[in-house]
């Protein structure tokens, strides 16, 4: 079955530490891949996206993600976390089969300690 998995429900890091949020997908072909961030009570903000080409993509707020076809993964990284990064992070895929509907993972809640 097609799915998106974010294995970590909750992650706590110290301010200034590095961050990696995991995302794995299960689809027949490489889908379009997205990372969104949701602050409390807010909608979803697009951080970055991967369609094709260079497997390391840069996004806003200093985030980057690396697509690894062999591992069916699209992990989100940031070298140095700021307290304002505390939020819920969602990985999403678009199988681009014409359905044009995003499938989201269950999210990873990031807590930043001072």
């Amino acid at each position: 079955a097609q799915s998106v998995t974010q294995p970590d429900i909750h992650i706590t890091v110290s301010e200034g530490a590095s961050l990696e949020l995991r995302c794995n997908y299960s689809y027949g072909a490489t889908p379009y891949l997205f990372w969104y961030v949701q602050s409390p009570g807010q909608g979803l903000q697009l951080l970055l996206k991967y369609f094709s080409g260079d497997t390391l993509v840069q996004g806003i707020k200093g985030f980057e993600a690396e697509f690894k076809r062999s591992q069916s993964s699209f992990n989100l990284r940031k070298p140095s976390v700021h307290w304002s990064d505390a939020a819920e992070y969602f990985c999403a895929v678009d199988p681009h089969t014409g359905r044009r509907a995003l499938t989201f993972g269950s999210g990873t809640r990031l807590q930043v300690q001072p």
Partner: protein, 112 residues
Amino acid sequence: DAGVTQSPTHLIKTRGQQVTLRCSPKSGHDTVSWYQQALGQGPQFIFQYYEEEERQRGNFPDRFSGHQFPNYSSELNVNALLLGDSALYLCASSLNGTDTQYFGPGTRLTVL
């Protein structure tokens, strides 16, 4: 440039009632998608509208219906509300032929 806007921000209804949520897409966008986000979960696709027609639909009952107007704005209607319909309803807009959706702040619906 205004982003995606939704109204109302919050809504409280009782079981069995009907509700209408509204969405205005980002300027230049012609496609609107609706998602339901239950507490503690990721958003789930409800349906998508383009050229005033429902183009794709997720696994939601017929109680969920929608409409798109000539100015591309959209409404989501839910009939015979159930307690389980309590959620954050997100609207996303995009330009047909592109693959990036931009989300609004959502409408928080509480069903008592």
